[in-house]
Symmetry: D2
Subunit: 345 residues, 4 copies
């Protein structure tokens, strides 16, 4: 009953089976294997466009490599102040770009607003004293478990276009957003202006793989060199690609995300009914932020439930995943109900 993160989970059995299946005979290294080729084709189908695909092993690598390809060292990257790239990567974007500046923007529910990009996207352009607006990175789903609507993505995309900014999506939880929105992957990415996507799989059932999907193929040659130079080119690439293939096969990724989201909804709905609990943000993916009295929080911890206290004592982050069990959710809700009642008494 571990709600700390979707990365405390293992891998989906089908992903492991794919690894075993991939472990046959010798194949060319560094991505010249047939599985890697099939993954590129499959993602091109899914996104309805001929895209370039680079598997890497971590989300930080995917984001930092993509942003470095899109941003010169003197560039500004606009992102939300709670975004993973800004807060949780120990400065990886700064390292990979050679010292670009992340400009933190506010915005409700972890989402930046097109108006901000409109207003700031041209600031200081051509003035050598200032870093130069270069790119925008949004997180889908956001760190707060909300999702950008297609029109929101597209509005930011239009602002990027107007100001000549590159446009990146950190999709560590892209699947969770996708199944909520009921729109096509293409609509939510390149048709809305996205040029590079960090397509997450690790949190949603893989062992450790993300695909950088480049919709603008002119960036591919540079990306490849950056990936190698950063130690992120796997010699036995088939084992990254096999994970992705299984993840996409039969829409496993969507099924996994639907399950995680459903568990989050069940948890959120249950909490919403409990007096004394207060939900923060819309629950649109697989993360719930909730405030509970300290006695209840401590009680839950004491009973063995695991979760993070966010930004302060009584504000919890609960994350569901592809393998969260209904019983775990219900057990949490029952315990919370009991503890809240005792606290109110």
């Amino acid at each position: 009953m571990d709600f700390r993160s979707d990365n405390v989970t293992g891998a989906h059995p089908k992903v492991l089976e794919a690894l075993v299946a991939a472990n046959r005979e010798s194949v060319s290294s560094y991505g010249e294997d047939p599985i890697s080729a099939r993954v590129t084709r499959k993602l091109s189908e899914i996104f309805e466009t001929d895209c370039t695909v680079f598997p890497v092993a971590t989300g930080s690598a995917a984001n930092a490599l993509a942003l470095a390809t899109m941003t010169p060292p003197w560039g500004a990257i606009f992102c939300h102040e709670v975004s993973h790239v800004a807060v949780d990567e120990c400065g990886a974007p700064e390292f990979f770009t050679g010292g670009a500046k992340l400009v933190n923007l506010g915005g409700k529910g972890g989402k930046i607003e097109a108006g901000e990009i409109e207003a700031r996207g041209g600031a200081g352009k051509g003035v050598v004293h200032h870093v130069q607006p270069a790119s925008v990175s949004i997180t889908q789903a956001t760190e707060f478990g909300t999702v950008y609507r297609q029109d929101e993505i597209a509005a930011i995309g239009a602002a990027c276009k107007r100001h000549g900014l590159r446009y990146h999506m950190d999709g560590a939880r892209f699947a969770n957003a996708l199944v909520t929105l009921n729109r096509s992957p293409a609509d939510l990415t390149w048709r809305a202006g996205i040029e590079a996507l960090s397509f997450g799989a690790t949190k949603n059932g893989a062992l450790g793989v993300e695909a950088v999907v480049l919709f603008d193929k002119t960036m591919a040659a540079e990306f490849e060199l950056r990936r190698k130079r950063a130690g992120h080119l796997f010699s036995k690439m088939r084992f990254l690609s096999a994970q992705l293939e299984a993840y996409l096969e039969g829409d496993l990724w969507l099924a996994n995300a639907r399950h995680a989201n459903a568990m989050a909804k069940r948890l959120a709905d249950g909490l919403a009914r409990l007096p004394g609990s207060k939900l923060e943000n819309e629950v649109e993916a697989n993360e719930i932020f909730v405030r509970l009295p300290e006695a209840a929080v401590a009680g839950l911890e004491h009973e063995g439930f695991k979760f993070y206290r966010w930004d302060g004592a009584q504000f919890l982050r609960l994350v569901t995943a592809w393998n969260t069990e209904v019983q775990a959710v219900d057990a949490f809700l029952a315990a919370a109900k009991r503890l809240l009642a005792a606290n109110a008494a």
Copy 2:
């Protein structure tokens, strides 16, 4: 019958089994899992000292992170001119260090000599116009399939100590060297002055994992931050650690290396007996460098044997691995014999 590299192989079945076994329940992310702790203990036993262990997924990451922790941006890293860090990592050491300079040294059989470090290790120290001697990196086994003897390692180590240089070993094929030398891992590393080791597993039976072993633990805190910042900290770390655990369990790593080396010896001995073939370098690990007439090389290629033409047309690199079959070696030898005879006729 693929002799291109030991990285065209898959993983040993036991390594895959370990992944499956590790795929149970939720565990803490980022290395706080029990498997990772066990791997550190196991490597501490193997090296007979309390060391710090950081699993990463690629050899380039292991080397570049270690060297960056050992070398300031204005530092000089002494290495052999054919070493992986100098030639095959697209400048990863330069990237990770923030622009240190690799000083390429010559030396027979891919080995640098202690005398070179003695002579150059203090050059320009304190003179701001010059990069500052900072570290030495040796490759064990070397790119040419030779191995450093313990006294050679220790002599370089003594020179490092005298000049205040850090000392790193790229052990992508450490196991292959170890089984040749019949000395303890400790003797061949920290007792000879090595402070950080890139302990390879990928080429020798894993899917994709190397352990950076720090014998000088004062580097650990910085290393951890560098690893994260480079996108090389796995959230589901258990899947790297599980590979390492299986790799070490029951001395699988040594068995694998012994097999690869035996196959290399069989291949080398066979080639040595063939008139018209000329072996280069001692074959002390799992790589063979051999010169053959073009007709023979072309013939081998035509018959489906795979290998690299090194540095020019008729100079072949043949690599054996943990799973190379005797039949493949013998088939290669038979074909070579036949083709050489035809050519001589």
Copy 3:
């Protein structure tokens, strides 16, 4: 009648005379000349401590080199959101540090507050996901023409000490602050915890020189290498040092700053008396920020007065300098008065 900046001025005649005087015979290059040695001694006297002095040619170089010596690539530098290092150096601190993160703080009048450093100075320490608090940079006088009091500097210094942070002062206008505060240079720097000072001279009468003054001499060796590596080590160093010597000789620097500040006060006092003008910030050094109606601003521009429109249309920045003439100030005030009256009518 140019109030755009104190860097539109030329150099004080005595500084030029010193250049001419320094232009005699051959001397050792790269700072091994007698003038450079005298400057170090002189600054050690002025600061009442044995400090290390490195002349460089620009303020950006002084700041970026100092911060890079104080901050690892994964470090956080706390600074004010309007500070020069954050806004006006095109990312120089990020470049020189290898990608550290500037954390922008608010604070009235361009001054950060000790409480902020207390609160944030330890955040995330040892957690690899986050950049690590490393240093604080304050600007004296600030970008808004205010000055930190000694107790304010010392309070931030105490917070730095508590959290193990390095402490830097950007003193591009240090002289202007000093003459306002009537405290010793030592009291306002190292006695209050400052470990490195960018001691400005260019804006206050030199051609182009700043001295990086290190109160913590353990940083000197690294600083020297960084300076060279950044192309900021002058071969004919005597010509930087000669500027500094003349600048310090007979307290020219203090006289220049007193004049600039007096002119600013005269201008501010005059503006304060004009209905329709609204001063922003205390005028404690040589910068005035004032709001005027657009008609008046346009009128002043039309009459040939030069200044910057700050952050928007009717918000002016006026800077006085070591050579600002009383007549220029009075002419500006007279014009403003006339234009404001016309506008009010």
Copy 4:
């Protein structure tokens, strides 16, 4: 009687007069002044093409900024193994490029050969494991006091073009080469393929200024940002430009170089006549490399002559400059003659 370097000299009086003359009234900062504009026009005339000119204060800055604009972080820069960029800049090119690799080439007299660029200029292109050939930097005059002929420059230029490499000239002693070759500046630079020139002035009569001359103007926008970001944009730019203007005015630069070269020739010719002295390299500019017996070297030092012992005990580097006096040369020769005779006796 100081022959250590041409940077132990002061500035030519006319350069200082120009500084004094430039020190009038307020002018726009950061290069928006009329003197800077005139310098660009003047250099465009001299080079018979519309070029972009960026003054910086040091040769290392000029070289590193130019190379960084011409070379991606994963690029290889081909240069001579004794070149200033390779040996004497503490890794500045690596720092400014973000970790590019300098590939050291041999070549007689400090000159690289076109054949080397032909042979290596395409090596590894598109192979992600290797750094990518990106640029070539030659030094004119070389570190050994020799000069490239126009056809040599052009042959390298042709090889660059064939391989898509950028082409840079470190012209710290460009004037000295030019007056030797008796060809136009255009012939020796852009007409031979050079795209960026570090046009030296410091060593030849300025206080501290070099001009980066970009013949390919498409690099200008990036260069400007890099210069600012590196702290090399002077606020009071007029004082750099004024030095350049005086340096070019009335062909002062050529007269200075002619004098320095003539003194070198006098010194070399004199030494050539002395039994026991052995000149190394052609003396084609203002540097002489000569071997003398230790007794003679020690004697010269004892008599107060200053010079560097190069690469070992009895190998001297002697450098003449724009202000070297005939008497100094003759005194050196007389002393050498006397000491050699005594030694031979």
